[in-house]
Symmetry: C2
Subunit: 411 residues, 2 copies
Amino acid sequence: MSELIGACVFAQSGGPTAVINASAYGVITAALAATEITHVYGAANGIAGLLKGKLYDLGQEDAQELEYLLNTPSSELGSCRYKMKSHVEDETDYITILELFKRLNVRYFFYNGGNDSMDTCDKVSRYFEQVGYECRVMGIPKTIDNDLCGTDHSPGFGSAAKYIATSIAEICKDTHVYDAGTVTVVEMMGRHAGWLAGSSALASFSCASPDLIYLPEVTFDMQEFIEDVTEVYNRKKKCLIAVSEGISYADGSFVSEATVSATDGFGHVQLGGLAVTLAGIIHQRTGAKVRGIELSLLQRCGAHLASQTDIDEARRAGSFAVEQAVAGVSGKMVAFKCKRDGGYECELILQPLSVCANNEQKVPREWINERGNYITDEFVDYVLPLIQGENTRATVNGLPRFAQLKKVPVL
Amino acid sequence: MSELIGACVFAQSGGPTAVINASAYGVITAALAATEITHVYGAANGIAGLLKGKLYDLGQEDAQELEYLLNTPSSELGSCRYKMKSHVEDETDYITILELFKRLNVRYFFYNGGNDSMDTCDKVSRYFEQVGYECRVMGIPKTIDNDLCGTDHSPGFGSAAKYIATSIAEICKDTHVYDAGTVTVVEMMGRHAGWLAGSSALASFSCASPDLIYLPEVTFDMQEFIEDVTEVYNRKKKCLIAVSEGISYADGSFVSEATVSATDGFGHVQLGGLAVTLAGIIHQRTGAKVRGIELSLLQRCGAHLASQTDIDEARRAGSFAVEQAVAGVSGKMVAFKCKRDGGYECELILQPLSVCANNEQKVPREWINERGNYITDEFVDYVLPLIQGENTRATVNGLPRFAQLKKVPVL
């Protein structure tokens, strides 16, 4: 493969995670070290900033501040949810990017994101090929939802899972303080995949796992749910429930959005989120003291509790993308191939971007019990290695020391 | 003071905190070491368990498991919210406790709790004095709300403040990821005192503090709130708001419980909590994308993020109570006297239980700005030393290793 000399552009996309900036660190440091790469540019707000020509010169950042990226949550360069049309449908965006890249002699493009971002990456890569512009395009995975195909798991998931399992262990302690009966419903993110809600089960290694777990992979039945909760509550006087935000009824409607039927005593759409809605229904049926807790943004930005394994893997994914691109690879997403028997090992591999674009990796049905209200040991064995390792983060005044980049504009 | 030889009973009461078990550790280890104390008993579920004679023999616990209490959240022995009548009104409970204490020769009683618990402590202490039963009664403060009088601050508050400031810093990062405008409302505990919501301002040492903070000490005005938020939102396209659960209208009704008037477009009681209610109102007025986040139980059970200063002080408060009781003191609550100029120092002192019982220490009005939508530098200077120090907690499988006590029954 011929040596390709030029600048690189790195961009972050989609929902942020606790370790997406660890991948940024991997990309930036590897790119700064690569003799083939003349300039390291970062796009503001993903592809949206790129289209506006809003780039930062990352070569001007201090090395120490860059290192703080390893423990800085969210997308430090900003993100977007911009969906590009195919160039057959509308070439405008592609021409804009091509002109910018030509002008700055950009020959490497690294895009860090989820399903939609891999789709964008794939489209840009094919367009460059078609118009004969030599630019190596690489995707770097990230998502707390863990729904990317073609990889054992995605950076960002392990840290969210660790945050969830830790918080559930602590909530479990709290809910057992009083003698009185209580039902607690905790809601995790995950519109279509239940990896996050399922990870609550790992709290069993610390305190106790939830009594019931509901995932989007199984059709939700309100009657069965009420039966399950009532049975646990009558037996234990306590019931801790984990639910994915994406659980849905047989007709495909989200439980969180559906107007609960009048027979459940609620005649209007609930505004308080799924956990509060379900807790309210249980209160009405059982008379139990209830509480709904939504982990909300906390589960994806809780960098103080990030898994060191996840940080390391996110960083390696970033630097691997650069190394492979410099070596001649293009049109691929970095992925993980892992083994768990006889000790966890994570190998970096490459997948065609098309495999990863627009597909969803869901929790296998056989990793969920028959009743559809708990996960199996296989699920736990899969997640456990991903939450290992306490990160040794920097603090200032007892609070997290985040990276403070200069973000010097290129143009 | 004459030497008093006998058993001791220790009990935990009220809402749990991240470090209440650090006080338990202080009491238990000091009591086990004291030659005057023959047995160390723990009451299950506070005074409620005591009334049922449900005691554990804490002398039978392993030293290592006891040490894990330093990083175990919630009340390990269980708690209660039982309010004792005065013995003039009804002597039953007092006689029950007296008989139990006589039977087991209990001569020391340590009660760890908040305002109500100090009241209980005071009543029990006075009763023993009146009937001539020699038993030294000591109160040990705890509350995340920081509303106990007679002490600079209370154990439990610093860790909750650290959790809140850290989470706000992380949320701040997350809400700045997209270019689009957003308004985020985060709700903290605190029915009558705004110490917790105010602590969100400390996030400025890490990322940025909230734009607006609303405390129960200032009457809430919905119109002013909407004006304030709109002004910030129009100027910055982002607005992060911290609110105490206990903010109330001029008529004394809690905003969280009040039916929002029809002019605000909400004709029914909101079930989703204060943050979601306020976010909904802002969305309707500004059209902004909004999100309501309730920190819920997480802020009081987040031991993984406990302040080491708080852990140390909680432990010292526990052991000091034992040392003082053995030395002859009774009818007192352990309290903190602190200096901040020229470096933080925290001295242990004693206060009459009556000073601490049933009073509330609120945020001074002069520590809140005139408009009532932010706190002053004095507030920040007061809280900052309390959140210092990262705790070096034990983990197992990447999750917190909590104490696992044997809880051997006494009777």
